[in-house]
């Protein structure tokens, strides 16, 4: 067990190192002069400030030090939590900017992923034993999974945000409010959160429900189900077993889908102008702010790796077969 986790950890660490390296390489090996194009976009009129910025970025990019030195400096900075200084919001540190956006993205992603997974699985399992429900859930589910995030997000923003006006369709909270811990502000946050969350939740839901329904039906036909039925076991027990076995591929599916969901969340934020990492990426791109881009990329990679690692461990805990293979026992 620990050896397995150690091995996994090593693979994830390696991925992390590679990702950081690529991240480091991108602005340095890009054609043109990244510092120049970054500063041109920074639209700073004060020549003195511009001068300060130029010196700063040239030192950071270490144009006078050898490449390997720059590479090690980059890592050293990383361990001190230094991700550089933003050019579009000079002189704010990138880390601060990201930490400001991160809660919004997490508040969208975590509930959307977990709730759609839980609700979708329950719903799919339920549909598997109900003809009427099955006949409605299935087509709706297929339509939902086939819907691109962007598209559904636009549809929701337009219908419920603009036409019906039930929820705000843009921003993280009303500009007239000052962030504070009050009921008014929190309810405002929630109403802004609702539509982007819903669009993520709904798209993911259909996929999980269909997957679960199909898996359950497959498991109910499995030999162990037939054996229990022959011995007169009630449907309840057989379904419980089927559900447990059907969960396993759904957990793997979660790991596989994670990247897609995160990409979807970033796009959804852009549609709703939601102040999370996705929106941050967009403005950093527009402003050629490589430090912010690098920083966000790093956070996304780390997030995906951590989530995958957690799923790996959960899988091992609930599937005896992987555990047996790991300890080398068995037939």
């Amino acid at each position: 067990m620990w050896r397995y986790i150690g091995r996994k950890l090593f693979v994830y660490l390696l991925t992390f190192v590679i990702a950081v390296t690529i991240n480091w390489m991108i602005p340095r090996f890009m054609p043109g002069d990244p510092v120049r194009s970054m500063l041109n976009r920074a639209s700073i009129s004060d020549p003195e400030a511009l001068e300060r910025m130029t010196t700063y970025y040239e030192t950071v990019f270490g144009l006078d030090t050898p490449l390997y030195q720059q590479y090690f400096n980059f890592w050293a900075g990383l361990f001190r939590g230094e991700l550089g200084v933003s050019s579009m919001l000079y002189p704010q540190p990138v880390l601060d900017i990201i930490l400001r956006s991160l809660p919004y993205t997490l508040a969208l992603l975590l509930p959307a992923i977990l709730l759609s997974w839980i609700v979708g699985n329950r719903f799919g399992a339920f549909a598997a034993r109900n003809k009427v429900l099955d006949n409605t859930v299935l087509p709706v589910g297929y339509i939902l999974t086939a819907t691109p995030y962007m598209w559904l997000a636009l549809l929701l923003a337009w219908s419920m945000g603009i036409v019906l006006g039930w929820f705000p369709a843009s921003g993280g909270y009303s500009f007239s409010l000052i962030p504070e811990f009050s009921w008014l502000f929190i309810s405002d946050l929630i109403s802004h959160w609702f539509l982007p969350f819903m669009s993520l939740f709904i798209v993911a839901l259909g996929g999980w429900a269909i997957g679960m329904r199909n898996m359950i039906i497959y498991e109910l036909e499995a030999d162990y189900s037939n054996y229990l039925q022959a011995l007169g076991a009630p449907r309840r027990l057989i379904r419980r077993y089927a559900f447990r076995n059907a969960m396993l591929p759904q957990i793997t599916g979660l790991a596989v889908q994670l990247g897609t969901v995160i990409a979807g969340a970033l796009l959804t934020e852009i549609v709703f102008n939601y102040p999370g990492l996705g929106t941050l990426i967009l403005s950093a791109l527009n402003n050629r702010d490589f430090f912010v881009l690098q920083g966000v990329f790093l956070f996304v990679v780390v997030g995906v790796l951590i989530a995958n690692f957690i799923i790996d461990i959960i899988y091992v805990l609930i599937d005896p077969r992987t555990r047996v293979q790991m300890t080398g026992g068995g037939a």
Partner: protein
């Protein structure tokens, strides 16, 4: 008389029509009798076994009756069958290797099953341990997942589970087919021992291995294309078979009673008719060297001497 099957007809419903897998099967099984059920692959052995305990969704009870210990077995009535299952009639399925839930420890699964069948798991615990020991398994298997056991161990676990409630009738479908020769013998001997100790009253032992069944069964019933062709004591079937099909089966054996593997039923030229649209009359007539005009009518299964039934116009 434990089991009495009369003119049982069970068809599979398919898109291309009904497959007449059991087309009028009649036989009796006495208390304490182990009946070997033999015949080529596809003759309806598994179908007969399933028909005695649970029809799957494609199977349709078309006619005939089953009686166990004097009571009707309402095979087509799913609800009414539930109390009989496991308590009265039990099954070791052909797929015993995959019959155990892969994500439950075996002991836990047995507990779940007992509770679901209204039996206090504690009340059978000692008996369970005794029986595991009897078939040569450690108590520790209860703490393991199915994947941790070898094929032979899984087979024996299923054997113990299926007989735990002392059913009147046990259907054992190809329990030895997936095992190597030495394990086959051990499993077959355990089955006889289970009967001798009264864990099961009587048994239908499905196999295509005549020499194995000859050594353990009291009687043998031979099926062909959904019909019973002959039933008699194991000795009679092997030494003095009367039906031409049985005779050919026996003569195809390398040596009667030997434990030689392979090449059992390959000696008969031709192949059985399809059961989707089976021919009328004797279903063996296309391959039968003795076939004559009368064989286009179905020969009835008659008792040609005490305890010896055959369905052939030439033996009647």
């Amino acid at each position: 008389m434990t089991l009495r099957v009369n003119d049982l007809k069970v068809y599979y419903q398919t898109l291309r029509g009904d497959v007449h897998a059991l087309d009028g099967v009649t036989f009796d099984l006495a208390d304490g009798e182990i009946m070997g059920l033999a015949g080529e692959s596809g003759c309806g052995k598994t179908t007969l076994g399933k028909s005695l305990i649970r029809l799957d969704s494609r199977m349709k009870h078309v006619g005939g009756t089953i009686e166990l210990d004097g009571k009707n077995v309402p095979i087509a009535d799913e609800k009414a069958m539930v109390p009989l299952r496991y308590h009265e009639i039990s099954l070791i399925p052909q797929y015993a290797m995959s019959a155990l839930n892969p994500t439950r420890k075996i002991g836990r699964m047995i507990k779940d099953l007992m509770k679901a069948r209204g039996v206090d798991p504690a009340s059978i615990e000692d008996e369970l341990h005794r029986r595991l020991e009897l078939v040569g398994l450690e108590q520790d298997v209860l703490n393991r997942f199915p994947i941790e056991l070898s094929g032979g161990m899984k087979q024996r676990v299923v054997m113990v589970i299926s007989t735990l409630l002392n059913p009147s009738l046990l259907i054992a479908d190809e329990v030895t087919s997936a095992l190597d020769v030495s394990t086959q013998r051990a499993v077959a001997e355990s089955m006889v021992e289970f009967r001798d100790r009264g864990f099961v009253k009587s048994m239908v032992f499905v196999t295509h291995d005549l020499s194995l069944v000859y050594q353990m069964a009291d009687t043998i019933m031979v099926m062909y294309a959904g019909h019973v062709v002959e039933k008699a004591s194991a000795k009679t079937i092997v030494n003095e078979p009367k039906h031409p099909y049985t005779q050919m089966l026996i003569s195809a054996l390398p040596e009667v009673g030997s434990t030689e593997e392979q090449g059992r039923l390959e000696g008969i030229p031709g192949k059985p008719p399809g059961l989707l649209d089976p021919p009328t009359g004797c279903r063996f007539k296309d391959r039968c060297p003795l076939a004559f005009s009368k064989c286009s009518e179905r020969p009835p299964l008659v008792e040609i001497e005490p305890g010896h039934w055959a369905a052939c116009w030439k033996t009647g």
